[in-house]
Symmetry: C2
Subunit: 335 residues, 2 copies
DNA sequence: AATAAAAATACAAACGATTGTATTATTCAA
DNA sequence: TTGAATAATACAATCGTTTGTATTTTTATT
């Protein structure tokens, strides 16, 4: 690989001049800059960013830690972050935790040891609190949390207005005439899920309905666990579920189907995340959209500006067949 | 940040001894190794991988270039590659091209300048040939192409048996009784699509059916373009389509629906890629699965072993409602 | 033309590790 | 105890840049 020393030798100047010429310093004569640039092109020189960054104590790499890259929410969030970061000259190193604490610790160590410029992360369900994050990253590597955040940690945060969104989703179910509405609430160590449960509760109480704790199910974000929980909910006489995820909502729909119930007439379901399958399936599933691309953009922006506050990205309820007993303003794609 | 020199100073030894102690060289006394390790832990030392790699002329980063990270195929391929690479101590730097030639060139430059250990890539549709890849990467950075490959380039390649898969898919349509089968063929500058078209042709000819070039549509991989092409196909009396992608196949189904046709009775569709929505929608769409996770694994494996051959990953036809006129061995999830 | 000021370049030390070679300390045999 | 062999460590160069300081060259001023 050709280095600045090669260029310097070929031109009879020193590496420092070449370096300054290539980085456009006013300390080199226009004439020599031209000569350097031509020689660089002739020799096929390309700056070694690793060496450059080492010397400068900088990095052009931003680490992103997510539970699973193939989850649409996260791949879209990564896409959003990348669109901003690439434009600012950064590259993106991606780590998956598969929802496991150990993998998260390993990912954090890896990023720290690679001296990344910053870390954008959404913590694993297996992470109970953020102490390991702080401990590993220290205060040298800026951290931006998105979606799943530990609010006790310093640094910027990007979250959805989960409480408000879940409130709207539940209210929508109430307005559609459902009266015994349960929820698949997810994991309570995640503030996002906790906030959704909160919104669900507020909506019920705000409408004079009581919260029946026997149809509030925890730790149910997979299709399988959603199915099981929904079966129990049905036995308890539940007529609708607000689900804190789309896959468990899918499980809920399957459970209702397996009992011969019609959707939405006999049983209503609203999921969360607006995974692409929700709009394509039949009945099309109502879902609370998270806007992951925008969250990724905001997280990247927060990293670039260094602002420390909490950005709240609005959620949007997509009303589709699975919850629209009375109206049908959003028919399925195939209607 | 604490360095080996800090440890050395604290212990009254030289940095070289510390370095050797930490990397387990037999040239340091067991006793000093222990002292070094303890001091490292006490000071909270973490090796600077950037500096280490610069010195060693190595890198722990493998670049992956894909058109779009949020496409399920690619996010799964990345996941597969990552599972192998992480286990081998590598990290993954991801670049998206958004199918654009310019972005691909930029991504290749970025990876080269970051002196990555290798590049795993699936080229953009906007790339007409692989000359820029070779030119930028040179022969120092190993290249593994997957899915979309330029066979004229050196280095390992991982592809699907596209011809065989498309052959099976088309034969399946024939066996189901369709007789005027067209295809949405995709982009012919991609060898994968070209091979699928080949398999389609062979299946028709092998069954004594002729290939009607008026219902072979090119450059149609989006839902929208698939819809338009399918409308033309229907006017030409086409009764089934083998589609080289799932999104254009979705467009085809929508086109048939818009004309009041029943699926699969009046019109059969098989897509390609087995995107997750295909199994969830109604009618469930038949699709030729690509096995992206395995492709990613194979690509990573090829990089690690340095083997230069071409690995062929088998495709698997998922027979679902959209193409099963006579039988229905794979009912939709909600049947 | 002499001198000060400014411009351009050279020199050399970093960044944080690794590694070949030289040096010192230890062990062992005779 | 001396010397050779070996173990352990120190020294110093290096990876490819960047950058503060020193030096040389050029320009401007009188």
């Amino acid at each position: 690989m050709v280095t600045i020393s090669d260029i310097a030798a070929a031109l009879g100047v020193t590496p420092s001049t070449v370096s300054r010429a290539l980085s456009g310093s006013p300390r080199v004569k226009e004439e020599t800059r031209l000569a350097v640039e031509q020689m660089a092109a002739a020799l096929g020189y390309e700056r070694n960013i690793v060496a450059s960054n080492l010397r400068k104590g900088k990095s052009d790499i931003v680490g992103i830690i997510v539970p699973r890259i193939h989850r649409e929410f996260f791949s879209n969030a990564i896409g959003g972050a990348e669109s901003i970061l690439n434009a600012a000259g950064y590259n993106v190193l991606i780590c998956q935790t598969h929802e496991q604490f150990d993998a998260e610790v390993k990912a954090l160590r890896t990023l720290r040891n690679n001296r990344v410029a910053g870390v954008l992360m959404s913590h694993a369900i297996g992470s109970m609190d953020g102490s390991h994050i702080l401990e590993i990253l220290g205060d040298r590597i800026p951290l931006v949390q998105f979606d799943r955040v530990f609010s006790e940690l310093p640094g910027a945060k990007v979250i959805n207005n989960n409480a408000e969104g879940a409130y709207q989703a539940t209210k929508h179910l109430i307005e559609q005439g459902y009266r015994h509405i349960g929820t698949l609430a997810g994991y309570m160590n995640s503030e996002a899920y906790a906030a959704r449960l909160d919104g669900y509760r507020k909506a019920l109480m705000g409408s004079g309905l009581s919260v029946d704790e026997s149809i509030v199910f925890y730790d149910t974000i997979l299709r399988e666990t959603g199915f099981d929980a929904a079966m129990k909910a049905l036995e308890a006489g539940c007529d609708a579920l607000y689900c804190a995820g789309d896959f468990c909502a899918l499980g809920a729909i399957q459970a209702a189907r397996s009992r011969g119930l019609r959707i939405p007439e006999d049983f209503g379901v609203v999921g969360t995340a607006d995974e692409s399958f929700t709009a394509l399936m039949s009945p099309a599933m109502s879902s609370l959209a998270l806007n992951p691309f925008e969250m990724g953009r905001q997280a990247a922006r927060a990293f670039l500006t260094g602002e420390e506050g909490t950005v709240v990205v609005p959620m949007e309820l997509k009303e589709r067949e699975s919850s629209c007993k009375t109206t049908n303003n959003n028919p399925t794609l195939y209607a």
